[in-house]
Symmetry: C2
Amino acid sequence: MKHDEITGNTGSAALLARVQALIGDELRDVEQIFAEEISSRHPFIREVLNHMAGYRGKRLRPMLLLLSAQACGTIERQHLVLAAVVEMIHTATLVHDDVLDEASTRRHVATINSRWTNETSVLLGDYLFTHAFHLASSFGDAFACRSIGRATNIVCEGEMAQVADRGNLLLTEEQYFEIIEAKTAELCAISCSLGGHYANASPALCDALDGFGRSLGIAFQIADDLLDVLGSEQKTGKSLGTDLQKQKLTLPLIHLLATSPARRAAEIRELLAHPDEGTREALLPILKSSGALQYARARADEFTVAARQHLAALPESPARQLLEDMADFVTVRSA
Amino acid sequence: MKHDEITGNTGSAALLARVQALIGDELRDVEQIFAEEISSRHPFIREVLNHMAGYRGKRLRPMLLLLSAQACGTIERQHLVLAAVVEMIHTATLVHDDVLDEASTRRHVATINSRWTNETSVLLGDYLFTHAFHLASSFGDAFACRSIGRATNIVCEGEMAQVADRGNLLLTEEQYFEIIEAKTAELCAISCSLGGHYANASPALCDALDGFGRSLGIAFQIADDLLDVLGSEQKTGKSLGTDLQKQKLTLPLIHLLATSPARRAAEIRELLAHPDEGTREALLPILKSSGALQYARARADEFTVAARQHLAALPESPARQLLEDMADFVTVRSA
């Protein structure tokens, strides 16, 4: 399972309301660009796209891009287009992830692959990817194409590395971080740095924004992986325990295995090697009593702190404050 | 099934030898760029890429791009990079097609999805797509990104339209042509016109090259669809009859249905609605006696002639001659 968006509880509602108050008009412009760009004259494609609209998220990456722009200067037309581009790429990866995860629901809505077929999902993802690249090239500046192409390629390489490590019950913490940095943090990082770049921020500020987005993305993914173990399907709106079913080791389990005596670790690996519907519930008490969940939360918090530190390079502003609060929020949601 | 490359018989061997004699060094450079670009530090990704190298084709699109460049001027570094880009995009679509077609072999080699899993194929395709876009942006000119982004998006839209029309036994000839122009001809067209553009050809010449590549691509796809009905698995090296199994109507069948008396057409549709292993053999004699195969070949020939006519805008040269001969060849191979 991968990077779900900010889910709807009171804390997030208040934060989202503040984001809307500051950049609501611009976010609506991004939505319009997104919708106009991907629309098609083919009724079938329109039908699939309409369905997809029901399971898209809270636009974390567009928010990061626009707030980064605002924190460095002003939001220009190019930012709106690029915000639609990063959201399109993110949506493409979600659609393809649902094929990979054989997930049946996302945000309470049937996934494209369960509503139609895997091939529809594959092609829809390709359609979104290629639209995003075309759109990124639309304002005649190869820098955006290059940045987006490079970041997206890193995302795909990270996803492939993760597939290669399915069933690898010896995955190390270092390998885990390498994978989530590529598959999740990279797109957050580029969203922030492109926001700065097209607001004429200095290279140093763009680097700081990259660092902010990267740390936030890592914290976000750790929190998302925790939700896959801890969350309730009703609350998150998606199938849970898919990481376990797919034998994807995540941080709490890696830590549990690394800190357990050899014999205990072997027993847990045996459980993980033959996952069934009861695996998640069988593991929960062990994860809790061993301190593995607390460890994972603490690591997420470290990245939140690192994210905030990067922002110190920027002048104080309402946009910077919202970026800070978003960094805090991504880990709070899994607590 | 989609656009296989020039298969190895005597006629093609002679043609390929002439292509090698003219642009062999440049084609080897393209291979090197391709291989270097997609290589990865991840052992699993390298393993999948090595396997894939065994089922790539005869590099039709790089040949079209380089010959078009040569026919308008000289082959520059940008052409070599763009030739690798179009081949990468083509390879990405093949990898995803094999998921869609549930094909087990391509060019005598097990497909990625049968050797590994569907998810490996999906991610490998994404990896190739994103590499291609990143590479297209590498020489700092948004024109290439825009052209490639637009063309690739049209390809994906065509593929989605085709999926939507699976099982549509009332598909018209017009709809068929619209689909194959998008899914196959567009990338051939852009290969040729980019070859011209980066050799400083006039817009009129670039348009002529676009028209040439488009007509050649359509002829090519009709011939490929004929091979799916007529070919031998041994010769083509891939699973046959997949169009029938997937209830994708192709030109001979569309013509057969359109020209049969209503009752006969209903019987054929009944056969097509429940395809099994014997469907292809049951249909072959009907397709032959009705003249439907001849009709499809004649339509392919029309597009070959149209392709050659577009080339008249270019000065005579060995490169132009080879482009002409390639146009002839794509339909000959299915005869």
